[in-house]
């Protein structure tokens, strides 16, 4: 799966669980998702949604705010886990 495809799925998961005040389909890839309205509890649902969609498990060291802070950071994390 290339990074464009990953990003599309990330945006779709954010649309379902992110509670964003902006459209998850068009928000800038480097925008701060927490500033865009994602609560910490919403970020948990985003994490679980991503794990289901990509059939991955985020390792403990990636369970930080930084991992889920933007579409770019999430996409990078998913790619890194896929390559492990």
């Amino acid at each position: 799966m290339d990074s464009t495809a990953i990003e599309t799925t990330v945006r779709s998961v954010l649309g379902q669980h992110g509670k964003l005040s902006e459209d998850a389909g068009t928000i800038a890839a480097d925008a701060d998702l927490y500033r865009a309205g994602m609560t910490s509890h919403a970020s948990v649902n985003v994490m679980l949604g991503l794990e289901d969609e990509f059939d991955i498990e985020f390792p403990e060291e990636r369970l930080t705010k930084a991992t889920f802070t933007s579409i770019n950071s999430i996409t990078e994390a998913v790619e890194a886990i896929n390559n492990d």
């Binding site: 994490m47 985020f58 930080t64």
Partner: protein, 313 residues
């Protein structure tokens, strides 16, 4: 000293402290695992701390005394859902079951009971849950309302299902809380103000304390993410004291919830924005026990200033 030595050392300190509390009538046995009754001296100290906390409230938030509310230790199971407690702390919650069967079901219940079996498994969820934090019923009560930075004062029982040999860890305990609902700035100021005043009160009682950032024991892998976020944003502070040398224990906490409860219970400020909230709480039994460790089990022999502050006879 190895880590194992430290652990053994700690559990020995806990055992010694518990034996002292029992021998001097501070702890009274009950039939509940981790559930402790308190004797007269301990109860006087608990009441004294609550009174001293109310004095702080009268100074910091003069109107809080007019918003002294009381909610019982039991609420609807729905409360645990609405506060996200089921998602965040399933390991700590407790719900109540009741018998709703007929005569036939009763005979079965009695038969199990006579065989010393687990009759309680035949009960039905009653729709009631034990309250895990004194401020939670307040948010449900204020649901849908406009808030203005007012401070509410609460004392009540909390339940956390974490029986432990450590006498500082109670399954059910009392908390004094000062809760502020308002703008982000009002909530933050409340937290700062009370963290300082709470630290000063505990110091004036002779305790060596320090405030530090902390996180709640969120459950599981999702909890890792929540804990990390809470620490990073410095949402939770605890006031710690070394009841056991080298092992700090929290006896109070100051928490910023951001808009978590405002969102969950549709509370807003005058400008229409989602309300923020903050709470400060003293664990009343924990403070009392820290004082016993510091000044001894005989409150008559405590320093005069401490006795006066707590209004001890």
């Amino acid at each position: 000293m190895s880590a194992t030595d430290t652990t053994q050392d700690l559990s020995q300190l806990q055992d010694t402290f518990r034996e002292g509390l029992e021998a001097h009538g501070w702890f009274l046995p009950t039939l509940g695992n981790g559930v402790i009754g308190l004797g007269p001296q301990a109860e006087d100290v608990v009441q004294g701390i609550a009174a001293a906390a109310r004095k702080v409230a009268a100074r910091l938030s003069p109107d809080a005394g007019t918003r002294r509310l009381r909610f019982p230790p039991v609420n609807g199971t729905r409360l645990l859902e609405r506060t996200d407690y089921v998602a965040s702390f399933p390991q700590l919650l407790g719900t109540i079951s009741a018998f709703e069967g007929d005569n036939k079901a009763h005979r079965k219940l009695l038969a199990t009971y006579e065989e010393h079996g687990d009759w309680s498994a035949q009960l039905t969820p009653a729709g009631h849950a034990l309250v895990p934090a004194v401020c939670h019923p307040l948010y449900a009560y204020l649901e849908g309302s406009q808030v203005d930075g007012s401070v509410f004062e609460l004392v009540g029982e909390c339940y956390r299902h974490e029986p432990s040999p450590d006498p500082m860890r109670f399954v059910t305990f009392r908390m004094f809380e000062a809760v502020c609902l308002g703008t982000p700035q009002e909530a933050r100021e409340h937290r700062e103000k009370w963290l300082e005043a709470g630290t000063n009160l505990l110091s004036s009682l002779g305790l060596e304390v320090q405030a530090d950032t902390a996180n709640d024991p969120f459950f599981g892998r999702a909890g890792k993410l929540l804990s990390a976020g809470q620490r990073e944003a410095q949402l939770k502070f605890e006031i710690l004291t070394e009841v056991y040398p080298g092992h700090p224990t929290a006896i109070a906490s100051a928490n910023l919830h951001e808009d978590h409860f405002g969102e969950a219970f549709s509370m807003h400020t005058a400008d229409g924005a989602v309300a923020h909230s903050a709470c400060f709480g003293f664990g009343l039994e924990r403070v009392a026990l820290a004082l016993a460790m510091r000044h001894g089990f005989d409150t008559a022999a405590w320093p005069a200033t401490v006795r006066q502050e707590l209004g001890l006879p």
